[in-house]
């Protein structure tokens, strides 16, 4: 899944890592936006072997966008703001 930036693209750049690899995002992005606009493709794998997941409701209800952020633990990517230097692992 690739989020496409359509509006409000003139923002300061942030640098995160996903599984150790660098990823550029914009100030005001949620972790979900940072990852999925940054080319991560997906956020986690289903525990039941049915494949990748990349969130669903984007409003903190479905819990399908869990990732792990160093220092914060497991969070909903859609409800967590991306910060410069954040180290993220898939959930």
């Amino acid at each position: 899944m690739k989020l496409v930036r359509l509006r409000d693209t003139d923002r300061a750049t942030l640098h995160l890592t996903l599984e150790g690899s660098g990823l550029a995002a914009l100030e005001g992005d949620t972790v979900l936006t940072a990852l999925l606009a940054g080319g991560a493709g997906h956020l986690r794998d289903s525990e039941f072997g049915d494949g990748h997941r990349a969130g669903f409701c984007l409003m903190g209800a479905c819990q399908d966008c869990w990732v792990v952020v160093e220092g914060l633990g497991r969070v909903r990517a859609c409800a967590t703001l991306a910060k410069d230097g954040m180290k993220v692992r898939r959930g």
């Binding site: 899944m1 359509l6 509006r7 914009l26 992005d29 936006t33 493709g41 209800a61 479905c62």
Partner: protein
């Protein structure tokens, strides 16, 4: 008097405003970073579109609500980014979680304005990356300036289908199809009633007309077949009303069939639920003013039954006045009562125009996943009605057997469809299979959360 208000959407803002006007300073809790609710959600700092761009026709309403929100925050005990994960009506306590720490809020009276989320019907392939709820697609654009894909299809029914498709096309996304599962004739039959809300009706017609004028593919009365793709979405197929099969190539799909109340706290508070035939859903019992059978608990907004943002604002103010009345204050309520009654009649017509597509859920193939959290198939749910365990005569028994609704979302996403699938299998009405009982915590909380 200790008062708590849960939620800072349209209902919560107007409830707090009314309480403050009567010199009550409530504890005011919202799970989000800022108030406004989902409909009037403000983008995080750094994004700079103006209200007209963000909210379209609703800009004046959004701007007025934000002004009330900002004026009320410093006067109330405002607690954003705080989850209320349980309510103990006996002790009159809310259990909260904020920044990894647990807390307790004591109340004499509480107004729950917990809002709504999308009501979805599973479609084969709906767990693929690239599929979001209609509300999710809108949040991506509104709050993050992003489209959910390059070539986007929208599938569902209800006012949000047309609005979100319009917003995407306006923002420069390629909208490859807008697929409405409701037949044109059904909507037409409800049109006279919709004229009770002429402004809302006109806006709906405007979006549809705009999409048609811009040559965007529209189909009505469709039956979704599958969202296709390996690892992410690559296409969507459906059957038209005459039986023809169609497919579009797309990399994202927004799905939604109206909204459903986020009523978990009302449930834990012990409020009985009733099946609302017009909404085709269970709603907590309350009177027109927001009073419930549980002393000290009041409800307002979409969390108490879907009414929309305009109703929520009035209902929030009215619930605050009900609370004040019950505390012995003299308040004037006639104007609000009249407004609520008039707005309610339009809602009935809207539900008739976009009925929940029970047949789509009931007609899902056995191998379709219906529960995203536990990876359950429709066939596994159907099997709960025949054994070998004691067969499920209703939803909570099916949950015990299959884990449907026991996962991390607690049935928020699959519950409505699960009820339809089970009812069809049992040959009874959806009201008869009951509803998934709420459990604390209403959302997952970490075991490491410190008191």
């Amino acid at each position: 008097m200790k008062v708590a208000v849960v939620g800072a959407g349209p209902a919560g803002v107007r409830a707090v405003e009314a309480l403050l006007a009567h010199d009550i300073r409530p504890v005011w809790i919202d799970e989000a970073m800022d108030g406004g609710g989902r409909i009037y959600q403000r983008p995080p700092a750094g994004l700079r579109r103006d209200a007209k761009t963000l909210y379209g026709f609703e800009a004046p309403r959004a701007t007025a609500l934000h002004a009330a929100l900002d004026a009320a925050k410093p006067r109330a005990d405002w607690r954003p980014e705080t989850l209320v994960w349980n309510i103990r009506p006996g002790q009159r306590q809310l259990s909260t979680l904020s920044a990894g720490r647990q807390g307790v809020v004591e109340y004499d009276a509480a107004i729950l304005c917990t809002g709504a989320m999308d009501r979805v019907v599973p479609v084969k392939g709906w767990t693929l990356p690239g599929v979001t709820t209609m509300g999710g697609a809108q949040i991506a654009l509104k709050s993050q300036g992003c489209g959910i894909g390059q070539r986007v299809a929208f599938l569902g029914s209800g006012p949000l289908l047309w609005l979100v498709a319009y917003q995407y096309a306006k923002a420069g996304a390629e909208v490859v199809a807008v697929l409405d599962t409701t037949r044109f004739a059904t909507k037409l039959a409800a049109a006279p009633g919709m004229l009770r809300g002429p402004a809302t009706f006109a806006k709906g017609l405007y979006y549809i007309g705009w999409l048609r004028a811009h040559g965007i593919r529209i189909a009505e009365g469709v039956t979704p077949l599958a969202i296709e793709g390996a690892g992410s979405v690559s296409g969507l197929s459906w059957r038209d009303a005459k039986g023809g099969v169609h497919r579009v190539e797309c990399d994202a799909v927004g799905l939604g069939w109206g909204l459903k109340p986020e009523a978990q706290l009302a449930d834990l508070a012990g409020i009985p639920f009733v099946f609302d035939a017009a909404q085709h859903n269970w709603v907590p019992r309350r009177d027109a003013a927001g009073r419930t059978p549980v002393t000290g608990i009041y409800l307002a907004g979409d969390g108490s039954g879907i009414g929309g943002a305009e109703v929520a604002e009035v209902a929030g103010a009215r619930a605050a006045l009900a609370l004040l009345q019950d505390a012995g204050r003299r308040v004037e309520t006639a104007a609000l009562d009249r407004k609520l009654a008039s707005l309610g009649r339009f809602r009935v017509a809207l539900e008739k125009a976009f009925p929940f597509p029970s047949h789509l859920a009931a007609g899902l193939p056995d191998d379709a996943l219906f529960c995203r959290c536990e990876g359950l198939t429709v066939g596994e749910l159907r099997a709960t009605t025949t054994g070998p365990a004691i067969p499920a005569p209703e939803l909570n028994r099916a949950k015990a057997i299959s884990r449907a609704g026991m996962g991390r979302c607690q049935g928020r996403v699959c519950g409505a469809a699960a009820a339809e699938i089970l009812a069809a299998q049992l040959g009874c009405s959806v009201a008869e299979v009951g509803r998934l009982r709420g459990q604390a915590p209403v959302k997952p909380i970490p075991l490491t959360a410190t008191p």
